[in-house]
Amino acid sequence: MQLPSLSELNLGLTVPALSLALWACILLVIDLFIPRDRKSVTAWLAAGGVVFAFIANLLVYRDPGVAFMGLFVADEFAGFLNIVVLLTAFIAILMSVDYLKRTGIERGEYYVLLLMTTSGIMFMNSANDLAVVFIALELLSIPLYVLAAFRAPEERSEEAGLKYFILGAFASAFFVFGAALIYGATGSSSLPVIVDAVGRALAGEGSSLLLLLMGSGLILAGLGFKVAVVPFHMWTPDVYEGAPTPVTAFMSVGAKVGGFAALLRILLVALPALTVAEGDAVAGWQTATWVVAALTLILGNIVAISQTNIKRLLAYSSIAHAGYVLMAVAAAGTPGVSDQATRAALIYLMAYMFTNLGAFAVAMAIEKDDGSGTSLDDFKGLGRSRPLLAAIMAVFMLSLTGIPLTAGFVGKWVVFQATIEAGLYTLAVIGVLTSVISAFYYVRVIVNMFLEDGEGDPAAAATPYVQWAIYLTFAGTLVLGIIPSLVTNLSGPVALAVASLVP
C-alpha cells in the first residue's frame, strides 16, 4: 500500500479543527496542575484555544482546499459554519464560568469535553467522506453525553445523560447502517465519488436504488437525531431540561450546526442526483425532508405552547427552528435552488445561534443555584425589577418569532424565499402559519416580563461573564437584523458546488 507523504496530507487546512482537539488533550493534563478553586483558569485557557481556532479558521478558509486526500475539505461552507460553532463555544464558555462555580460542578474536564465536541462539530463541517462524518459524529456526541450528565448526581441531569446516550446510540447506529448501504450501492464512501456512482447506479437496475433510498433514509434519521427533528426529537426536552444550562445552550446550537452541515453536504454533494423515478426534476430525498420539516414545524411549535419551563420552551422552540432549517434543506433538493437554499440554511443557523444562546443566557441569569427558577412564572415582573435584562430578552423572543429588524427575521426571510423559489408553496405556508403559532408562546414570555404582576427576582443577578454573553448575543441579534448584508455577503460565495470539492 502506498502511504501518502506528509505534504500530501495538506495538514495546514485542518489546523482550526485539529488544534482544538489537541488543545483539549493538553488542557486535560494542564488541568491537573490547576488548583481546585481556580478552575476558571482552565476556562480561560479553553477560551484561548477557541479564539486561536477562530483566527486560524479565518486565515485558512480564505484559500479552500482538501486535506487527507479528499477526506477533509476546507471550503467556505465549512468556514462559515466553523465561525458559528466557535462563537457558540466561546459564548458557552463565558456562560459556564460562574455557572459551574455556583452550582458546585466546577471541574476542568468540563471545558475539555466542550472543546472536544466543538472540534467534532468542526470535523462534521468539513467531512467529505461518510466514514469521516461518522467519526466526527461520535466525537461530537460522546462528550455531549457526558456533559449532559455533568450535574450528576442530580437526578434530572443523570436522566438527561442516560436518555441522550441510549437514543444517541441508536442514532449513530442508524447513521452507520445508512452509510454502509450507500457504500454498498456505490462502492465508495467519498462524497464526491458517490455522486458519480449514484448516476451510474441509477442507470442500472432498481436494486441500487433500494440501497440508496434506505441508506439516505437512515442517514437522515441518524442526523435527524442530532438536529432534533420530528420524529427523532423526543429526547430533546428531557435532555435540555436536565443538562446544565450552558451545555443545553451549546447543544441547542452546536449539535444542530454539525448535524445540518453533514446533512447538507451528504445530500447535496453525494446524493443530488438521487431521483426516485426517472426524469424526476428534484432529488428523491426532497419529499422525505419536506415531510419531516412540516411535521417538525407543526409539532415543535404546537407543543411549545404548553410548556411552563423556559428551558423546555426553548427546547421545543429549538425543535421548531430545526424545522425551519430543514425547510431550506428540502428546498435545496430542487436543482438550481440548492445554492440559495444552502446559503439560507447557513444564515438561519447564524441568526439562530445568536438569538438562542442569548435567550439561554438570560434564562441562566435568572436561574437559581439549585437549578430551579426557570419556570415561566419566574419571569413575572422582571420588566420592573431588571428592565434592561427584560428588554433584551424581549428582543430575543421577537427574534425567535421572526419580527423584522432582528436576526431571526433575516433567517426566516431567506429560508422562506428559498422554499418558495423551490416551488414548495405548501411548506412555505406551513412555515408562515407555524411562525404565527410560535408568536403565541414567545409573546407570553414578554407578557410575563412586562405585563404580569410579580416581584421579579431582585436577586437575579447576571454575573459579569453571563452579562458579556448576553450583550454579545444581543449585539449579534440586532446587528444581523439591521445590517443583514453583513452575513448575506459573508456567505455569498458559499455554495456546495460539487466541482470545487473534487481534489
Binding site: 448501504l181 462502492g187 436494486s207 436504488l209 433500494l210 426571510w413 423559489e421 407578557v447 405585563l451 443583514p484
Partner: protein, 801 residues
Amino acid sequence: MPLLLVVFAPAIAALLVGLLPRNRLSRWVIGVPALLFVFLVGQLSATEPLSVDIPWATSLGVTLALQLDGLALAFALVVTGIGTLVLLYAGSYFGDDRAYVRFSGITLLFMAAMLGIVLSRNLLLIFVFWEITSITSYLLIGFNNESVEARNGARQALLVTAAGGLALLAGIILIGQVAGTYNIDQLLATPNVLRDSSLYAPILLLVLAGAFTKSAQWPFHFWLPGAMAAPTPASTYLHSATMVKAGVFLLARLSPLLSGTDLWLGLLGGFGLFTFVYAGLFALKQTDLKAILAYSTVSWLGALVAVQAPGTQLGAIALIVGVLAHALYKGALFLVAGSIDHETGTRDIRLLGALARPMPLTFAGALIAAASMAGIPPLMGFLSKETFLVTALDEALRAPWNTIFPAAAVIGSILTVTIAIRVLWDTFIANRQGELPKHPHEAPWPMWIGPLVLGATAILLPLALTLVLDSLVSTGTSSILGQPTEVHLHLFEGINTPLILSTIAIAAGLLLFAFRRPLLRGMAGLPEGNPSAIFRWSVETALPGVAEGLTRRLQNGRLRVYLLTVMGFLLVMVISAIALAQVDIIDEAVLAGFDPLAAFICVLIMIGAIVGTIVPTRLSTVVILGIEGALIALLFAIFGAPDLAFTQLMIEVITLSLFVLAFHFLPDTFRYRRPNLRRAIDVLFAVALGVMITLLPLVTIANRVAPSTSSWYIENSVPEGQGHNVVNVILVDFRGMDTQGEIIVLTIAGMGVVALLRLRPSAQPRGRHIPTGSETPVHDPDGESERSSSSTTEEQLAEQT
C-alpha cells in the same frame, strides 16, 4: 435625505424622551411631530415628490426607498398632525410623568413606523414598519398592565395583527416571486404582471388577510374594541386615526397592481360593506363611549375598504376625503371621550349626561365633530359622505353591486348619523340619570384644544382651504390610480341623487335616534356573532389543550414511547423504500444453501427468543439469553468459523457472570407487569422489527451491487499475509492499524473506568429513581427501603429499554 429624517426623527426622539426635562415635558415632545407637520404642509405645493433610495440589505431585495407622493402626503399629514395634538393632550391626560415618558416614547416610535409605512416604496420595507406598528400598538394597549382587560386586549390585538402581518409577508414574497422585485415603482412599470399571474388569487388573499386584520374588517374586527383598553390618547391616535388605516392604505397602494378583477371587487365590496353595516348596527348596542366610537370606527373602515372595490377615480377621491374627514371627527370624538373619562371618572353613557354646561369648550369640539360625522354641510364629513355616495351610485357598477352598494351605503350612513347624535346627546345634553364618580369640570387647555383645532380644520378645509384640499385630493388620487388626475371638490353641486340620499340619511338617522329604545330592545336578542369568543376559545382553550394533549401523549418522558416512535418510523421508512424500489426480496442462492441442521438451530433460537420474553424471573431470562448466544455460536461452528464460535461463547460466559453479579442487588422477579394493551403493542412492534431486520440482510444480499470482498481476503491470505486463518490475517495484517487503534482505545477506556471507580465518593449503593421517566411507579407499602427503591428503578429501566 429630508425624507429619511421624517422617518427617523420621531424614532430618535423616542429614544431621547427619557433624557428631556420632566417639567412641561409635553411641550418638548410635540416639537418633533409639529415640525414634521409644518414641513409636510410645505410639501403640498411641491411639483416633484421628494424621494430617496438608499441600498440597505440589497441581497434580500430591501432598499430604503422612500417617496412622498400624494397618497403618502395625505396620510403623513394625518399622522403628524393628529400625533402632535395627541402628544400635547396626553401631557395632561397622564398625571404621572413616568407614564407620560413611556407613552410618548412608544407613540413616537409608532409614529416613525407609521410614517415608514406610508412613505416606503419597497414592499418589504412596508412589512418591516407594519410589524413595528403592531408591536407598538401592543405595548400601548397593554399600557395599563395592571388590568386584566388591557392584557387580554393587547395580546388579542397583537396576535391578530401580527398574524395578518405574516400573511402579508407571504403575499409579498409571492409578489416578489412573480415580478422579481419588491420595489413598487418597478412593479408599476409592468402593472399587469400580478393580475396575469396564476398566483394572483393567493397573492390577493394573503395581502387582504394582512390589510383586513390591520383595518379591523369583519371577521377580524374584534380586536379593535378589545384594544380600547389602551389609554384614550393611544386609542385616538392608533386605533382610530392612523394605524387601523394602514390596511386601507396598503390596498390603495397596491390597487394599481391588484384591482380591477372580479375577485377584488367581490372581496373588498363584500367585506367592506358588510363591516360598514354590521359594525354600525352593533355600535348602537354599546354603552361604553369608547366602545361606541370603536365600533363606529370599524364601520367607517369598512366603508373605506368598500370604496376601493370598484377601482374607480370616484372611489379614490372618496378614500382620500374619507380618511381625512374621519381622522378629523373621530380623532376629536375620541379626545372628547378621554376628557370626559378624565373629568367624570366614567365612560358609561347610561350614567353620563348634561355635560355641556360644565365642559363648554369640550362640548363645542364634540358638537362640530358629531355634526361632521353625521354629514352636516358644510363640514368635512359632509364632503366625505357625498363622495362616498357618489362612488356607490356609480353607473359603471355592474349587477348586483349597483343595488347592493347604494343600499348598504345608505343604511350604513343612517346608522352613522344615529351614532353621532347619540354620542352627543347622551353625554352632553340628556339629563343625567345618576351621580358621577367625579364632579365634572372643564378639562385643562391641552385637552380641549385638540378637538377644537380638529373641528376648525373640518370647517375650514372645505370652505376656505379648498386649494389645499383639492391639491391633496388630486395628488392622492393620482398616486392611487397611477396616472395624473385633476380633482375639484364642491360642497354644492346642485340637487342630485347623492344629496337627496344624504338628506334622507340624516332624517332617517334622527328618526332612528328618536326610536332607539324600542330598536335596542328589539336588538337585544340579536346575536352579535362576535368571533372574539371563538378566537378566545381557540387561543386560550383549544390550542393550549391540543398542545398539552400532544405533549402528554408524545412527550411523556418515557424512553419506551420514544423508542417505539423511532422504531416505527424506521419500519415505515424501510418498508416503503423496499416497496418503492420494487426489487426481489429473496435471492435463490440464499435458498439453495439450505441446511437442515442450521434451520433447526434457527428454530430453536426463535423459540428461545419467545420464551425469554415470557419467563418471570431475571435469572431465567439471562440464562435463556445465554443459551441463545450458545446456539448462535453453534451456527458459526456449522458454517465453518470455529474461532468465531469460540469468541462468541466466551463473551456469553462473561456476560452471564456479570449479569449474575449484578443480580445480587436486584429482586428475583419482574414485579412490574405492563397492562395488556401495552404489551400487545410491544409485541407487535417487536415482531414487526424482527421481520424488518430479517428482511434487510435478505434484500441486501439479493440485490448485491458489487462482488463480495471475502474472496479477495481468502485468495490473498497466504501470499500476502503468510497465514492460513483468514480472520487472524485480517485482524493483524490487512487491518492491523485498525486493530492497533482499537487496542489503544480499549486501554484508555479501561484506565478511565478504573479511574472513575476509584473516584466514586462512597461504596454505598444509592437509591435512585427516574423522576419523569416513570411508568406507574411501584410503591412499597412498607416504606422506602433501600432495596425497593433501587428495584423500582431497575424495573423501569428494564421495562423502558
